[in-house]
Amino acid sequence: MTSLTGDTARSATPTGRPEGRADTAREAPAGHRPGARPGRGALRRVGREGRPFLRARRGALWRLAGWSLVEFAQTFLTGYGVAQALDRGFLAGRPGVGLLWLAVAAVAALPAAVTTRGLFGRLADLVEPLRDGLVRRAARGALTEALAAPERAHTGAVSRATHQTEIARDGWAGLVMAVRSCLFTSAGALAGLATLQPSLLLVVLPPLLAGWTLFLLTLAPMAARQRAYLEADEAFAARAGELVGGLRDIRATGGAEQAAAPCAALADAQCDAARSLARWAAVRMLALGVAGRCPPLVLLAATPWLLSRGMTAGVLLGALAYLTQSLAPATHALMTALGTAGGRLLVVLDRFTAPTPPLPPPHTPQGETPDESPGEPPHGDGRPRPGGIVLREVTFAYGPGARPVLDRLDLTVRPGEHLAVLGPSGTGKSTLAALLAGSLTPDSGSLRWDDRPAPDRLVLLPQEPYVFTGTVADNLRYLHPAARDAELAAAIEAIGLAPLVERLGGVEGTVDPGRLSAGERQLLTLARAFLAPAAVRVLDEATCHLEPAAEARAERALAARPGTLVVIAHRPASAHRADRILLLDGTRVQQGTAHELHARSALFRDLTGQHSADEAEPDRS
């Protein structure tokens, strides 16, 4: 990543599979534990990525400076105009001239009404790209995290990311404006002082510089306190989130005091950090006092000396105007921006400096290149397709230390077969589904598809249906963008989606996932799977929110499509519809028809509810 914006141009790995995904699956979400990244070096890390960003926007910076020249002129004229108005006008008995000079100063302010708009336009050139880049990064990070462990995906990271990009946007804009304003106002004021009477600089500069030095000295400890404060705040937030998630269990165990203690400790730690921050904020106020308020005092003290060197009353008032109306507010604004928004900005930007790997490109199972180009229209309907899958000693575990979910599983799925998978939860059904669909790669053993299907020919429908905001047609074509309208209509009819599509206003109607029931969303994804020219379709409890009749219709329709159908069964009826049943139970695996398994397996009878009363106390011997 060379800059804070834009998508990475890094070329995808040829295999197209993110490496080490299984390992990262177990890690806490990025940013979940705020203390994990040391605060030190934040400035260096942000600077490293920020410099190219600014270099790429040199033009915008120059234009910003150009517009700011107006501010320089305006500042220059405020003090100078006052001095001339008094010396040449009001004090010289010529009020007209005095008014004229004040008018000059006032008129000099007029262009600002126009130029400020230009200024903010250029500011947008610096700020909006930063936000774009951060949003891209946040989206990539959240997607990467979700892809690594879909079952743990949660939307908390999403709102966090958007929230933080906004903090960064506002903080960055505030900082740019404050720095720019302080720079050009100071320059205008100092130039005015030098023009009025060069010796003024001798008097004014020392306290100004002293104040600035004092402030710069407070900056580093201040930033450290700020970071400590934000981190303490987030540590408390993380702990509070855990506590809130465990209220039931805490009450059930009577561990309220045990649970409250770390929260209270973190609240106190945050309080300490806030106290410390408040102390440094007070020090900053003192520095501000020295830089902003001392120069006028020193000027007054030096007035007798300056008067002896020819200073007039008008010059004194002009100098006072520079110091109190221009320099002090600009200094105040910058110090505040640096002291508050600056620290927060640094902390937030540092979050985004962690490298996010590029997203996986459209992949093919086992990393082999597709044997047909993605855009090529698929085989015409009706032609039988291969869809056999052979698993030999397939083992899979979530993480290196974890017990394998699937242990040396052998399985042959015949082309065109309708297979149901049954078993208690936690026995690896979803894992098997993901493996069959090429979403996961076995840790060991081999898994081969006949004919190495292209991605659009290997379809997995997970339990959580993915429907996005867009048209019905967009949603249906998700796996098969080239599908014709007639095919869409056929899929809608076959799956029983017509009433829903009608309600949404036809295929061009808009889908708002939040307004659909879980069952309706599942129907949409089932039609999507029907439409895809797939050789293998894997349904991972993808009908669990449907009524039994709707489930039966959808499953029969999918089974009638060419290709292999694997159904992780949610209801016993689902298993009974299949040609063959695979029964998973921990380390043991049994296969057969419903009839065979019913005779053989107590677990099968238990799961399908076909127990008889004489089995009331199994395994008690």
Binding site: T155, R251, D268
Partner: protein, 616 residues
């Protein structure tokens, strides 16, 4: 959890909220100090222009250097700066202390309330209220203290000008309406531009949230890059609206950057004419200029009032939290060596107008095992919650060994009654802590024995640091988490053990081992088991069959089995309980099938989802 002694910050009704008066009463002196320092700084700032004017006049008069006046200038400046710094310091400390106080109180209150009431708030919402909202509310007293000085400065400045010269005061007053108008235009315009911006921003967030929720599909379809394009597609429009917000903002700033110099020039022009006429001195002109600057700073008043309003609104948002009822209790003990006989009399539970349990009369003899079966939504989990006082029934009583549960001292109750859940949350830093977590600290041998009974000892030993492995670093499946939850329940539960679907993710071999441990408890520990599986019902001494919140039948499984309707109960999904988990609702609610009030919207805020487990 009901406490025997109230926490040190009394949770009484009077001090029970986060309103401004309560916060002011908590640290009256500190707030007073902030107010006094603020007013002092304002007074110094108001005195300074007048002194400055005199000093300038004396200096320009060319006589002896007016050291006294110069010293007075320096003194006033120093006082203002020092008092301002004191305000920042005292105010910061005050808000910090109040924040921590509010947070600890809010946490205590949450832990004291019945879990189902606290869970009426969504998890993210609660977290936000505990963090951001407490901080905002704690800032209210300091904001209130700041209002006085914020008002004092412009008003005092105006008085100062009037006292110095009427005519310039009039000139200034003529210009002020324009200033007020400008502030209004500014707020209106930005509101519109910001609304559009936020709308598009929300669409980016929505797309991202959808894609994240559908990650399994995206991964399988290999469409991650396409999704990223789709998510970031509105950025172009967002940028356009963003630019518009800056333009609107720039226009307002541009206006104010013209208006303020014009006002100053106006005041100076009138002042200059008065100077030329000999009505004011040069020093008084300086005074007028400085006062005018203070008057123009009137915008700070809106800022101060806004801060106060924000703080009070935050206090309001905390009110429902502090209003959570805390169940009362007495300090009775349970009869020693009681067998754990559980009696429910006329128990009814109503939540959000829905009847979850009705007229439940049930006696579970001590040391026996009762299976609770029924379709999802029939009230099984509610019954389990009521049995061990996770929630109080709205009607009827629950008694353990003859003592009504509300009479039992909480620490006694939690030692005698244990719970295990389908998706346990595992508080505690290490795996060992997670098992030991609770009312007291059991010895390590007891922890290991319980882990052994829950078939957890084996996999815990395989963890990198065994029982000392941090929970966050322990890779665990849903079943393994369930076993830790079971072990935690086994450690205590001396009389009553409630398993709410707590073995659903175990394979049959492991489940059998757990059941062997449960069977060993026969005779001395009562077990209440909510189950979906047939074999569980078959094992129990007795089955309570719930339908629509009422007991349809109680009896042995073999007897009930003759009823086809009973057999049908087990035709329901054998696996996960039906989840309404669409994209928004947190899946960790799924195990309260009987209890969940709909989540009250998912607000922003970081809901950490550490313990979210996918059923595999």
């Amino acid at each position: 959890m009901a406490r025997r002694t109230p926490p040190k910050d009394a949770l009484g009704p009077a001090g029970g909220d986060a309103s401004l008066p309560v916060l002011l009463r908590r640290r009256p002196w500190s707030v007073a100090a902030v107010a006094v320092c603020g007013v002092g700084a304002a007074l110094a700032a108001l005195a300074l222009p007048a002194v400055l004017g005199v000093t300038v006049d004396r200096l320009l008069a060319g006589g002896p250097v007016p050291w006294r006046w110069l010293a007075l200038c320096a003194l006033l400046t120093a006082a203002e700066v020092a008092l301002d710094a004191a305000v920042v310091w005292c105010g910061g400390v005050n808000s910090a202390v109040l924040t921590s106080w509010l947070r600890r109180r809010a946490v205590d209150r949450l832990l004291s309330a019945e879990p189902h009431r606290a869970q009426a708030f969504s998890r993210g919402d609660l977290t936000t209220r505990l963090t951001t909202t407490t901080g905002d509310a704690a800032g209210a007293p300091v904001a209130a203290a700041g209002v006085a000085s914020a008002v004092l400065l412009p008003v005092g400045g105006l008085v100062g000008i009037v006292l110095t010269d009427h005519w310039t005061a009039l000139a200034l007053l003529a210009g002020v309406p324009a200033l007020v108008l400008l502030l209004r235009v500014f707020t209106r315009d930005t509101a519109a531009a910001t609304r559009d911006y936020q709308r598009v921003q929300a669409s980016v967030a929505t797309r991202l949230a959808e894609a994240v929720a559908g990650a399994a599909t995206v991964r399988a379809a290999g469409t991650a890059r396409r999704e990223h394009r789709r998510i970031t597609e509105p950025l172009t429009e967002l940028g356009a609206h963003g630019r518009r917000t800056w333009r609107v903002y720039g226009r307002a700033v541009g206006l104010s950057s013209v208006l303020l110099p014009l006002l100053t020039a106006l005041v100076l022009a009138v002042g200059g004419l008065r100077l030329a006429a000999g009505a004011v001195t040069v020093g008084e002109l300086v005074t007028i200029g400085r006062y005018a600057a203070l008057v123009v700073g009137i915008g700070a008043v809106t800022g101060a009032l806004g801060g106060l309003a924000r703080g009070r609104a935050a206090g309001e948002r905390l009110r429902p939290l502090f209003a959570l009822p805390v169940p009362t209790h007495r300090d009775a003990a349970l009869p020693p060596d009681g067998p754990g006989t559980l009696v429910l009399r006329d128990v009814g539970v109503v939540r959000d107008g829905r009847r979850l349990l009705r007229d439940v009369n049930l006696t579970v003899p001590g040391g026996t095992c009762l299976a609770v079966v029924g379709r999802s939504g029939s009230g099984k989990s509610t019954l389990a919650a009521v049995a061990g006082r996770l929630a109080d029934p709205d009607e009827g009583t629950v008694a353990l060994d003859g003592v009504p549960l509300p009479d039992v001292a909480p620490h006694v109750l939690r030692r005698e009654v244990g719970y295990a859940f389908a998706r346990p949350a595992l508080p505690g830093d290490t795996v060992g802590d997670a098992i030991a977590f609770g009312v007291d600290r059991p010895p390590p041998e007891a922890v290991r024995a319980a882990a052994g009974d829950a078939a957890a000892d084996g996999f815990v030993r395989l963890l990198p640091h065994g029982y000392r492995t941090p929970v966050a670093d322990a890779p665990m499946s849903g079943g393994e988490r369930q076993r830790l939850g079971l072990a935690r329940a086994f450690v205590r539960s001396h009389r009553l053990l409630v398993l709410d679907d707590a073995t659903s993710a175990l394979d049959t071999a492991t489940e059998r081992r757990v059941w062997e441990a449960l069977d060993r408890m026969a005779g001395h520990r009562t077990r209440l088991v909510v189950a979906h599986r047939l074999s569980t019902a078959a094992r129990a001494d007795c089955v309570a069959w719930l339908e629509d919140g009422g007991l349809r039948a109680v009896g042995r499984h073999e007897e009930l089995w003759r009823d086809p309707a009973y057999r049908e109960v087990f035709q329901t999904p054998p696996t996960a309980p039906p989840s309404t988990a669409a994209s928004a609702s947190p899946p960790d609610r799924a195990d309260h099938t009987a209890a969940p009030p709909p989540p009250a919207g998912e607000p922003e805020g970081p809901p950490p989802a550490k313990d979210r487990e996918g059923a595999r």
